[in-house]
């Protein structure tokens, strides 16, 4: 099986190691965003509202109208926070997905703002509604039952507790089953919920385990960041204390050193946030990539459809092991393979496919294959995932890419079997895996980074025609 929960859970660390610059970029972006959000919030909430709050600590509002300006200001403030944080989150999410799924598409630290981000915003709102519905439904129902006296006393307590537990389980269940919707939507440039749901079928527990592990890593990073931040603040506080004999608590005396410490704390906080972002959402993208790689691209005749359903893919696995090989070694190519509507007939592609197949095979056994799939002579075997698989697991990366406990690694399996198989279906996949063959204009959908957008063949102006090599890609 190509998808391993433990392996995917470490994707964030691979990302950090391979693209430290991107992490710094995310931290910088988050710092700027925080300044903008706090500054904007102050402006919107308004000095008047603040003054009102300050003066009105003991004030009692006689009527709603009297309190209306304050309520309006608060409402505008909350609305502003929601909108800005959603936008920030969409940019950050898309950046992580871009770094994992379209590493050639650099942007500024993989951050952009366009269709991908807007679709992520739609999904963020969808997930908020979904979880709101679950929690609101469960507790709304319970409160109604309570109000109507159907439940009371210890029974009510037990019901609320059970309701809480049930809501937790529902949230986790739907959260995991739909967890691949954001990366899938990103990769396919189109909102996908149903497909993401079916992609997680049979992998619920593995995905849950992956998310729990990623969460544990994120918690460790968060606590570590807090500890360092507090140590900085503490050291500053002690320094300030030592300056003053006798020891005083006049904060004004401390302000310079404490401000510097606060700066340090904020810096540590934003870097920690960027690391957590990679560590938690990197695995999500990796899980999507690996699970898609498990699925087989459809035969060329079905290429106008958006990829196979789970059943279809299982059948297809038997038909074309070579295509699986290509998909395994070229996870993105498998996305590319599904939707390709080529300007060139499949026969032409088949020639390229044969060459690509040879190359893929060669590179799969070469741990030292180059870092990026976009260079001539290189396939996705050079991708960290395929590479780690190819390197045999004993040597190299410490992140547990190959697992002794895993009964069969799909990569060697598929690699071994494909020369024996006829493969009518794989040319698009191989062609996508071998982008150096693409030279005609109008065939940009064959580029792995751009190939996810078959329905908008020209709708990716941000995609370079010939994506540059990625010097940041990991070299193991």
């Amino acid at each position: 099986m190509a998808f391993s929960a433990t392996k995917a859970a470490f994707e964030g660390f691979r990302l950090i190691k391979a693209k430290p610059g991107a992490i710094l970029g995310w931290a910088l972006f988050y710092a700027v965003a925080l300044i903008v959000i706090i500054g904007g919030g102050m402006l919107i909430f308004g000095t008047s509202a603040l003054a009102e709050l300050k003066s009105g600590q003991d004030r009692h509002y006689e009527s709603l109208e009297e309190a209306l300006p304050l309520l309006q200001a608060a409402g505008a403030f909350l609305g502003f926070l929601f909108v800005t944080f959603t936008i920030v989150a969409s940019i950050q999410l898309a950046a992580v997905y871009r770094a994992v799924l379209r590493p050639g598409d650099r942007g500024f630290a993989y951050m952009k703002f366009g269709g991908d981000e807007l679709r992520q915003i739609a999904l963020i709102i969808f997930f908020m509604l979904l979880h709101g519905l679950i929690w609101g439904g469960v507790f709304g129902g319970l409160i109604t039952l309570h109000a109507l006296d159907y439940i009371d006393g210890p029974g009510a307590v037990a019901s609320y507790f059970s309701g809480f537990a049930i809501a937790c389980f529902l949230s986790v269940f739907f959260g995991v089953r739909l967890s691949l919707a954001p990366p899938m939507t990103f990769a396919k440039r189109r909102l996908h919920l149903g497909r993401a749901w079916s992609l997680t079928r049979g992998n619920f527990w593995a995905l849950l385990g992956m998310f729990v592990l990623a969460l544990i890593f994120a918690i460790i990073l968060s606590l570590g960041g807090d500890a360092i931040g507090q140590a900085v603040m503490g050291a500053a506080g002690l320094t300030a204390l030592s300056w003053h004999e006798p020891k005083t608590y006049d904060f004004a005396d401390w302000s310079s050193v404490m401000l510097a410490a606060l700066g340090g704390y904020v810096l540590i906080h934003v870097v920690s946030q960027a690391l957590q972002l990679a560590v938690f959402y990197g695995p999500q993208a990796a899980a999507y990539r690996d699970l898609m790689a498990e699925r087989n691209p459809p035969p060329a005749s079905e290429a106008d459809d958006f990829g196979p359903g789970p059943g279809a893919s299982e059948t297809a696995v038997g038909l074309s092991a070579a295509a699986v090989t290509a998909a395994d070694h070229a996870p993105q190519a498998s996305h590319a393979a599904e939707p390709v509507i080529t300007a060139e007939p499949a026969s032409g592609a088949a020639v390229h496919g044969a060459a690509a197949e040879h190359e893929a095979e060669t590179h799969a056994t070469e741990p030292s294959a180059g870092p990026e799939p976009h260079l001539p002579g290189e396939t996705y075997a050079g991708h960290p995932e395929a590479q780690a698989g190819a390197s045999g697991g004993e040597a190299g990366d410490p992140h547990g890419e190959v697992h002794a406990a895993e009964p069969a690694s799909a990569q060697p399996q598929a690699t071994e079997s494909h020369p024996l198989e006829p493969h009518p279906a794989e040319p698009p996949a191989h062609e996508a895996a071998e982008p150096q063959h693409v030279s005609e204009p109008g065939r940009s959908e064959h580029h792995p980074p751009a190939a996810d957008a078959p329905e908008h063949p020209a709708a990716s102006p941000d995609e370079p025609e010939h994506p540059p090599a990625d010097p940041e890609a990991p070299k193991h």
């Binding site: 433990t6 507790f161 544990i216 140590a231 020891k247 410490p398």
Partner: protein, 313 residues
């Protein structure tokens, strides 16, 4: 399906103690020293403040007290992460040493101790398993809560506190069993991580499939061994305490006058006792952990035989 022998697993810990008594002793002392480092650091940082506070017993100037206490608590807060790191490091070094002695005895290191990747993975996997089990505990508690509520209502309808009592007891027992089951399923994560040199958490779940019963048996036997060890240690402590008690005097007046001598004197009297106890625990810690941890490495090796060098190259 390959299985494993509980006796062989249990014997592995004692085997290490027998074969490498010096190493086992050293593990305990190193574990003790690493764990103590933050405490020593803490004492060097706040010991003065603490002793000041003890001596003065509340001075006339409250603001000076507040300043002392703030400095004290700030320093404590700064040391806390260090002590967590130290305990992780100690666990990493100790686990790896024990697993090295069982799984790769030819790799001697310094009394099987090293400081490298294996130690880092052991520290990380211990932490992850701990947090994972905590999350599992929350999930089990939630399911248990729902079942408990259902049993409660059904019991009420069925008309009896007895039914409710029995039902709730069953639910609690089931929850405990579920927790033990989950813990056993993750029991091979640490040895598997050591043996493969890679992070192996969910792989333990696959490895232990079909072996939970025997693993439970092993855990029970280990528990019995540990209880016996505790009884022996407590007996030693009781004897030591008795000696010290004789020194103080066992009657009430002597006892009272002992504590009337002032906190500093009391502390200085108790300190040697604390030090002796720490030394004793340091000396037996290596053996204790070897007995407790080596069996899981042995189980792992029995389930996943080592590849011969010919296979590896």
């Amino acid at each position: 399906m390959a299985s494993f022998s509980i006796g062989e697993a249990l014997g592995s810990g004692f085997g290490i103690i027998k074969r490498h008594p010096l190493a086992v002793l050293a593990w305990g002392i190193v574990y003790f020293i690493i764990s103590m480092m933050p405490l020593l650091l803490m004492w060097s940082l706040v010991g003065g403040d603490f002793m000041d506070a003890v001596r003065s017993g509340g001075s006339a100037d409250p603001s000076a007290d507040i300043a002392t206490m703030t400095a004290f608590s700030t320093k404590m807060q700064m040391i806390q992460p260090l002590s967590i790191l130290a305990s992780l490091l100690a666990a990493g070094v100790l686990n790896a040493a024990i697993f090295r002695a069982v799984l790769t005895p030819q790799d001697k290191g310094f009394l099987y101790m090293k400081l490298g990747k294996a130690e880092f993975w052991q520290a990380l996997i211990s932490l992850c398993v701990g947090i994972l089990l905590f999350i599992a505990f929350l999930a089990v508690a939630m399911v248990g809560g729902i079942l408990g509520a259902i049993v409660w209502f059904v019991g009420e309808a069925a008309g009896g506190a007895v039914v409710q009592g029995v039902g709730i007891t069953l639910v609690v027992l089931a929850a405990i069993a579920a927790m033990i089951w989950i813990a056993l399923r993750f029991a091979l994560a640490a040895p598997a991580t050591f043996a493969t040199g890679q992070f192996q958490l969910f792989e333990s779940w696959t490895l232990t499939k079909g072996h939970t019963g025997r693993l439970f048996g092993l855990a029970l036997v280990l528990l019995a061994v540990i209880i016996v060890m505790y009884v022996i240690v407590i007996a030693i402590v009781a004897v030591l305490a008795g000696i010290m008690g004789l020194g103080i005097g066992l009657n009430e007046d002597a006892f009272r006058s002992f504590f009337e001598r002032g906190p500093e004197t009391v502390m200085m009297t108790i300190l040697p006792f604390i030090l002796i106890m720490s030394l004793v625990s340091a000396l037996i810690a290596g053996a204790y952990y070897a007995i407790l941890l080596a069996p899981w490495a042995s189980v792992y090796r029995q389930l996943v035989p080592a590849r011969s060098p010919a296979e590896e190259f």
